[in-house]
Symmetry: C2
Subunit: 212 residues, 2 copies
């Protein structure tokens, strides 16, 4: 019996460091894969299909949702975003864990999906709102009104912190990265995550039998 | 609201390395305490009351059991052994975790006690029975017939491995020690183990309020 992987959900308000942390985990462990979202919005410059997103038509997206092919999905303004189920299913059946960089609504949908037994959820809080704002500004990516829009959405996201298994305050990136690795490593040591143990115990039992 | 500590149960057959590992954890973290068992057997040379065991009379032991003052207890041949509840209760209310070095029957009793919500259980398996035997012999403590007695009890203990939250195969002491620390560190990052987070989120909320 081989191990079935975990669905590891990482949520946080924008600016709390989630994407940086997810990026650091990419190079950590080959048995950790990343869920690539599908979207109907057009690619931005430099975005690669299948890497940053799967870029699909609205028709194809709707069809996938209707066929039960999306683990979670949402409409944000005029665009759809979702997590395709098939790559996740393949990865966990191969014994790999899958990391999701999604918001609380997506997390909720995955926790109510057919894969709910394998879900592990982690919420990342900022040390302060001043710091959250500072990080959004220092990225230099967004216009002031976009930053204010993100700030307004932040409280909505933070207010769902208490639906998560683990909560980290990202005061220091290195420490939070280490904590994420600790959580994932520990979860892999759960009995339920080590189906091969049955074989080990059978081996011990037969060794006992030979001693009698 | 301050944190309530965990009851961390460590079980294994004798010779799997449990006591060595527990000893290494002693010097690791000041917020990890050790449950000292009470026993009616007389102290052996070098054993210190309150450190290795609490040495008590059979009458005092029975009285404590009747008063609900033992988290778990058992009779082994003509002696009683048990885990006094009061020091554990005090430690976890101080926010300290408490480590128990007990067998599966004691573990079962603690899992059915009033403190069951705070229990975390870890089972340590030997890499092989040959190795288990080798470790018992190499200790040089016990006569061959005592070792054979321990070996017979080993399978009984191992056969309860599947009632534990986490299971480790102690192939390499350093690795198993690191895994134990990983498990304890991760469990402390659970939302339910960080009641102070409520204050942090309230602080964030009031910061948002000031921005409006």
């Amino acid at each position: 019996m081989s191990r079935r992987g975990l669905l590891i959900i990482l949520s946080s308000p924008s600016g709390a460091g989630k994407s940086t942390l997810a990026g650091r985990l990419r190079t950590w462990d080959t048995s950790l894969r990343f869920s690539v979202s599908a979207t109907t919005r057009p690619p931005r410059e430099g975005e690669v299909d299948g890497q940053h997103y799967y870029f699909v038509s609205e028709e194809a997206f709707r069809e996938k949702v209707n066929d039960g092919g999306m683990l979670e999905h949402a409409r944000v303004f005029e665009n759809y975003y979702g997590s395709p189920k098939a790559p996740v299913q393949n990865a966990i059946e191969d014994g790999c864990d899958v990391l999701f960089d999604i918001d609380w609504q997506g997390a909720q949908q995955i926790k109510n999906s057919s894969l709910q037994d394998s879900v592990l959820s982690i919420f990342i809080l900022p040390p302060s709102i001043t710091e959250l704002h500072r990080r959004l500004v220092s990225r230099g990516q967004d216009a002031p009104e976009v930053i204010e829009g993100r700030m307004r959405k932040s409280w909505d996201e933070i207010s769902h912190w208490d639906g998560y298994d683990y909560v980290l305050i990202n005061d220091d990136l290195d420490q939070t990265e280490a904590q994420l690795k600790t959580i994932i490593s520990a979860e892999r040591l759960r009995r339920s995550q080590q189906p091969d143990l049955v074989n080990h115990v059978r081996k011990l039992q037969s060794e006992f039998g030979e001693r009698e």
